[in-house]
Point group: C2
DNA sequence: ATTATTTCTAAGCTATCGCTTAGTTTTGTT
DNA sequence: AACAAAACTAAGCGATAGCTTAGAAATAAT
């Protein structure tokens, strides 16, 4: 029997934040079901054992990927949050989202909304909470901006609901368009009467 | 050696049109990837052998299911085709679609649009053609109705493109809403400025 | 009744899924 | 150098995917 010591062990040969970013892009492009652990293994550049010891499960990798995504887009969120013009800021938010999606090298819209669609029929409270938080957060910001424009008018419950719809379907549209131009048309169409 | 005769053989114990309708509902509810051949076997009430001898492959079953769906909704299409009011008819088309979806016992929006989303990144020309034909057909009808309303105005290319977007995203929205009321709100929001 | 033909049931095929385990290698402390 | 702890490689686990096949059962002309 050896007594327990504080001997140090072998070092990790990868940085978790770095490999998760690669996983995120894979999930973004192929969806959750469309991404296998073997694919993750290849893309992340680490063995399955390392994946499971770092993140527990494929689901765990996905959760971390979602967090990574949220962090990547947080700059756009903060810009919208601190903006002061009103509805025009919301419109710009969508254009910022398109740009960010392209800069991140991905044309598959919004990872959160893609996930919302894919997980719609699944019973997965962890993911559902992540998504709903994101959507409701966006809705709250939208309503704030709306208040800036119509300081005299009341922001009715129904108007608030419409803004949640806008957040949901607007971002969803980004995942379905065939081109940047098409998405721009869609945004213009959507905002024509707000 | 027996000589070739015209002896008749055993009869099929199922009607292909009937079992395909059941398959369609399964695909509608769970998507293509979310539906396994074992599930089809159970739902259609026939053995895997029969599935493969009748339809060749899972893909074949899906193709027939899409055709079945198109036939089911053809009544709504024809109503829109022969309508004469204009944009108001398009709006009613969406409401008819909601009603039909509920009457067919399914709340998963439009099978064609769901398929469009699920097959977006797949290389599957057969399915893609089915979907594009459907969308373009709908767009053409929309433009016809638009002409009724603005007989003097020109129906620009850009306006036409917007109507394709409307067809695509409007139907897509139907697959993402949480309630009938939400979809109605979305339709109202969409049509507020057309 | 015999025969050819088709449909049926049920078992099994290979490939891949998410995940685990056995055993080796690397590490810092003793 | 001896040792415990952690991370590595690679093989393999049971379950399920889409699909096929072997053989029994049913059919109608002969």
């Amino acid at each position: 029997m050896y007594r327990i010591t504080n001997a140090m062990a072998r070092k990790k040969e990868y940085i978790e934040e770095e490999v998760i970013e690669k996983a995120m892009h894979l999930f973004w492009h192929n969806g959750y079901e469309g991404t296998s652990v073997r694919m993750l293994e290849k893309e992340m550049g680490i063995n399955q054992f390392s994946i499971y010891s770092s993140f527990g499960s494929k689901h765990g990798v996905f959760q971390e990927s979602l967090k990574c995504y949220k962090q990547k887009v947080s700059a756009i969120f903060n810009k919208l949050k601190t903006a002061t013009r009103g509805v025009e800021d919301i419109k710009e938010f969508f254009y910022d989202s398109i740009r960010a999606s392209q800069e991140l090298g991905n044309q598959k819209g919004c990872l959160v909304t893609n996930t919302y669609n894919e997980f719609a029929e699944k019973e997965d409270d962890v993911i559902r909470k992540e998504i709903v938080d994101f959507m409701e957060g966006l809705k709250a910001i939208f309503i704030e901006k709306l208040r800036l424009d119509s300081s005299k008018d009341e922001v009715t419950i129904r108007k608030q609901a419409n803004y949640l719809l806008l957040a949901k379907h607007g971002l969803a549209a980004a995942s379905r368009v065939n081109s940047k131009e098409e998405l721009e048309d869609y945004i213009e169409m959507t905002f024509r009467n707000i």
